[in-house]
């Protein structure tokens, strides 16, 4: 089990940040991903492997007409 924005999410072996974003449907372009307190660079979302128990925060910025 991992935590994503304070909610439990099933962990699967080999899961990357890209997978987490896809499963959660986090498609907003203005996000910052923080894994266990560390900001992950955008270009490693597809390679950064998640570990069981990781705490992930996907911070969405406000934007657009809003």
């Amino acid at each position: 089990m991992i935590k994503v924005n304070n909610e439990d999410m099933d962990f699967t072996d080999g899961m990357t940040i890209e997978d987490v974003l896809r499963i959660k449907r986090y498609s907003h372009p203005m996000i910052t991903v923080i894994v266990n307190g560390k900001v992950i660079p955008v270009d490693s979302y597809s390679t950064h492997k998640i570990k069981d128990g990781d705490v992930i925060n996907v911070i969405h910025m406000m934007s657009g007409g809003c």
Partner: protein, 711 residues
């Protein structure tokens, strides 16, 4: 040919010093008075400019009995001290303030186009129009010659795409000169509805076309046409980077360089505003279940992929042209569709340039009506603009009427034969044309959702509670385009907003619902204190909000408070100080706003509203109002109820809806208490004496007014 001259006024244009011309142009259309009024140091100190000036003039012009269509009501258009600089993106906005026909309270809009900067460089910080003319008029301000003329406009067309072009041609000396002209106009729709808006033009040199931006919300266009103004035209030649005579240009340029660099490097990775404008939000909101679908029943739809920014970019938006609505805005989000051939109505067959389409318009006229057709979006956008109708209110009205029709609450007898089923684009367009003409069902629908609900109740005896639950308006103004059901903070953002439920005060859905950064009532109240106040500041200055948070520095996420975008707040402090020569801090920046924000709240009170009961939203803003909505997200709601400790075993949908409703309404009440407390208001939502004293707005009439509401 210009019409007969009804009044003339000659003046020596004031030189703008440190962002202010120091004068306001006052016009009374009842007796054709034209005169100047000084902008005092006290006004600058307390109300700064823009919306602040507008509210102050309006406060002094109207009494608590004044109605929107009384001659005492005013329309004030003002930029602000920063307005008109050409270095920093988003610096050409006008605030428009008037008493709204929809809410009966002050309405403010922040609109692009060249009007406010050209007005200021013509020698006027604000334009204050009062009275009512007995015939259609055009007000023409020539800022180089120092002349204001009121002309008979009985023979001019009302609709914007004809009028703005005609007047730009008429008043420009040459093709080159057209960029020195800005026209404020509305249209036939504004004459025949309460949802009229104002268009503010600028001349697009590359396209050789007149473009328009909208002061959309709350019926400003309706007031404009009620005063019989067809257009206000300003002409000023000679804009330079120094036209504001700023105190410290270096400060402005340094801030501007930082932002331009961010935009060029990062916009393509962030919101792609330069490519698609705010349309990028269609797909984002659909993915997060936040896109209003079918009168806010749902938050997404499989067919939404037919109206995303991808579709508009590939097939409709002209690319690689600088789409900025004032000089220097490299964010350039003002997209347009060129050579669009109109398919319906009086202008069928004409080829036009449509300022289409922003997110709010796509969501309102299309998704909220269950229509997923991009060409319908462009058609409806064109007609709303030229008729002078607010797309957000229009989309809400049609969505509400369609839901009533589908639920069998209204039928063809009421709609005059229109088959108002979700998805029926032809019927929506027919209704739009009827609204503009003031005919048939359009005449009733054009009064807005609140009055339409009252009409339906009277005619059909339908369930009043259900109708209130599903009519998306607060204070009489239709809700803008975000589903707030799963974000308590945004429910407050909409419900407490001074002018009514527009997202420009607060947009907290991601912070609250997705990021879970403001979990407690106190956290939410803090956000609902800070953001509305901060965001008010743009409209005091003549600034656009978008360059604040639609582009962020690469290292923004590493800052202490990323949602405030601290680097950009510093830019704004630098801009204000750079232009005015003052030396404010970011705390003082907030104080400027907090003062005007509270003054506007008190203004609502003066108009007999502004208390807690007027901050109550329809239930659909808080949660599922119908069985269909609950069942469409049953898993989500069942889970929430279980987590809250409700026993839902064997319960019917209706029983579960009742539980959820009771819970959510109680949460909303608690939020209301927390927000009022944080804002320094009492439990009835009225600023306390201590608050108005702290803010320096404890004028005798303010104190007397709020004293009646102190506990």
């Amino acid at each position: 040919m210009a019409g007969k001259i009804l009044a003339t006024y000659e003046y020596t244009p004031a030189k703008v010093e440190k962002g202010y011309a120091g004068k306001t142009l006052y016009i009374n259309l009842s007796d054709m008075t034209i005169k100047e009024k000084p902008v005092t140091e006290k006004m600058k100190e307390l109300f700064v400019g823009g919306r602040g000036f507008g509210l102050w003039y309006l406060w002094n012009a109207v009494s608590s009995d004044t109605k929107w269509n009384d001659p005492e009501n005013e329309i004030i258009i003002a930029g602000g001290p920063i307005c008109g600089i050409t270095q920093y993106p988003g610096s050409g906005k006008a605030a428009v303030v008037t008493l709204s026909p929809l809410t009966g309270c002050p309405m403010d809009n922040n609109v692009g186009g060249y009007f406010a900067p050209l007005l200021k460089f013509s020698g006027w910080d604000a334009l204050e129009i009062q009275g009512k003319s007995d015939r259609d008029v055009i007000v023409f301000i020539d800022g180089n010659r120092g002349k204001v003329v009121i002309e008979d406009a009985s023979d001019e067309p009302a609709d914007t795409h004809l009028l703005a072009e005609k007047l730009t041609e008429r008043y420009a000396d040459s093709e080159e000169d057209k960029r020195n002209i800005s026209v404020v106009s509305s249209g036939k729709g504004a004459e025949n509805t309460l949802i009229g808006m104002l268009n503010v033009s600028f001349y697009d040199v590359k396209r050789k076309a007149v473009r328009v931006k909208q002061a959309g919300r709350g019926g400003s266009g309706t007031v404009f046409r009620d005063k019989k103004i067809k257009a206000i035209v300003v002409k000023y030649k000679g804009v330079t980077g120094d036209s504001n005579n700023p105190a410290d240009k270096e400060k402005i340029i340094n801030a501007a360089l930082r932002l331009h660099k961010e935009i060029f490097e990062l916009d393509k990775l962030q919101n792609r505003m330069r490519e698609v404008g705010t349309a990028n939000l269609v797909e984002v909101m659909n993915d997060y279940d936040l896109l209003p679908v079918m009168n806010f029943q749902y938050g997404s739809h499989p067919d939404a992929n037919r109206i995303t920014s991808k579709v508009f970019r590939e097939k409709y938006f002209t690319q690689n042209v600088p789409d900025n609505c004032w000089y220097g805005c490299s964010l350039s989000c003002a997209k347009a569709v060129d050579n669009y051939e109109v398919k319906t109505g009086p202008y069928k067959g004409q080829k036009v340039c449509v300022d289409a389409a922003e997110y709010e318009t796509i969501a309102a006229v299309a998704a909220n009506c269950g229509i997923f057709d991009p060409e319908y979006v462009i058609e409806a956008n064109f007609y709303c603009d030229t008729y002078g109708l607010d797309t957000i209110s229009f989309g809400n009205i049609v969505g509400f009427a369609m839901e009533c029709y589908e639920r069998g609450i209204i039928n063809k007898e009421i709609t005059g034969g229109l088959e108002l089923k979700f998805g029926n684009a032809d019927a929506a367009l027919e209704l739009l044309h009827q609204m503009a003409k003031g005919e048939g069902f359009g005449k009733i629908a054009g009064q807005g959702v609140k009055r339409l609900r009252e009409y339906i109740l009277e005619k059909t005896g339908a369930d009043a509670k259900l109708l209130r639950d599903i009519s998306m308006e607060i204070k009489g103004l239709e809700v803008s385009m975000y589903v707030s059901k799963e974000s308590l903070a945004q429910q407050g953002g909409y419900a407490f907003a001074n002018k009514g439920p527009q997202h420009d005060e607060a947009w907290l859905i991601f912070m609250d619902m997705v990021n879970k950064q403001i979990p407690t009532f106190e956290d939410k109240a803090e956000a609902l204190h800070y953001f509305p106040i901060f965001r008010t500041w743009f409209s005091l200055q003549g600034l656009c909000k978008l360059p604040w948070n639609d582009i962020v520095p690469a290292d923004n996420a590493m800052t202490d408070e990323p949602h405030k975008i601290p680097a950009h707040v510093q830019n704004y402090v630098d801009l204000f100080n750079g232009v005015t020569g003052k030396n404010i801090t970011k705390e003082e920046l907030l104080l400027q706003s907090e003062r005007v924000f509270n003054f506007q709240r008190i203004f609502n009170l003066k108009m007999g509203k502004g208390t807690r009961e007027y901050d109550m939203p329809p239930f659909r803003l808080l949660g599922p109002a119908t069985k269909e909505e609950y069942e469409s997200r049953a898993e989500r709601y069942d889970k929430q109820l279980k987590e809250l400790g409700y026993d839902i075993e064997g319960k019917t949908t209706e029983e579960k809806m009742a539980m959820l409703r009771q819970y959510r309404e109680s949460q909303f009440e608690k939020l209301t208490d927390a927000v009022y407390k944080r804002r320094g208001w009492n439990k009835n939502g009225v600023p306390t004496l201590e608050t108005v004293k702290k803010l320096g707005i404890d004028f005798p009439d303010v104190v007397e007014l709020i004293a009646k509401y102190q506990e």
